[in-house]
């Protein structure tokens, strides 16, 4: 599944790097605990989170996570979007809750990137 399909599915608005939506997603990290996200290995990960601060982008950067979705209309600040642009990380947000987003992505065939830890 690519980011464009996920964007359509979750009715996301894209705030950073909308030229990278062709990227394939293999697994999901859904968490508000950044230390937990940092244990997530594997490639082509998508981070789904309700947390809304600069450290979300820093965590994505360190863990080689190329895309982040902020849930429940928690639109990230301009500062967060700027850092994401600089680090070439796709940033989107959706109106759906973390639970609903996870359910929809699971139904679409995606799985957690953290179950093997």
């Amino acid at each position: 599944m690519d980011l464009r399909e996920i964007k359509e599915l979750l009715k996301c608005k894209v705030l950073a790097n909308d030229d990278k939506l062709d990227m394939q997603v293999d697994c999901i990290c859904a968490s508000e605990l950044m230390s937990s996200v940092l244990t997530c290995s594997g490639n082509n990960k998508l981070l789904v989170t309700g947390l809304n601060n600069l450290q979300v982008i820093r965590t994505a950067e360190m863990s080689d996570i190329p895309a982040v979705i902020f849930v429940q209309n928690r639109k990230p600040s301009a500062e967060i979007v700027e850092l994401a642009k600089e680090k070439e990380i796709v940033v989107m947000y959706t109106k759906y809750s973390l639970f609903t987003v996870c359910g929809m992505l699971y139904q679409a065939g995606l799985r957690s990137g953290q179950d093997d830890n």
Partner: protein, 144 residues
């Protein structure tokens, strides 16, 4: 990585207590340097995560400190030294889930008691030296 490409290199970062907005700048710079040196992505990820966790720990718990990264053809050594309250019981602090972080820190997505275990998991060698009132020193080595 090809060994002949790497010359010994030292990177130094000053970490300021309470500087949450700046948290990750050191790790980000290390990551950029290692990418430029052509290190393997898995090695870069481990160094970046270990440095980032150490950086956040210093910002959250210490009075400030220094992270020094030694890059050689064999390994990458991350030395973290801070002044601060220190860790009275290291064995307890190393347990996953144990944390003394405030609610404010937890709301920011940290303080889940996973930082030190994460750092250890990312390293081939991990050593921590601390005590009440004497600051904390952490050394991590990641082999190339």
């Amino acid at each position: 990585m090809t060994t002949e490409k790497i010359r010994p290199l030292v990177l130094e970062y000053t970490i300021v207590s309470g500087d949450f907005a700046g948290g990750g700048k050191a790790a980000s710079d290390v990551k950029r340097c290692l990418s430029q040196l052509g290190c393997q992505s898995e090695v870069i990820r481990r160094v970046a995560v270990a440095t980032y966790e150490a950086e956040m720990n210093m910002i959250i718990h210490s009075f400030g400190g220094k992270i020094t990264i030694y890059i050689s053809s064999d390994n990458i050594r991350i030395l973290c030294e801070d002044t601060g309250p220190g860790i009275p019981d290291i064995e307890l602090a190393m347990q996953e889930g144990y944390s003394t972080a405030s609610d404010k820190i937890r709301e920011m997505g940290f303080g889940a008691g996973m930082g030190l275990p994460n750092m250890k998991n990312c390293s081939d060698f991990f050593c921590i030296d601390s005590g009440e009132g004497q600051g904390t020193k952490v050394e991590m080595v990641i082999n190339l």
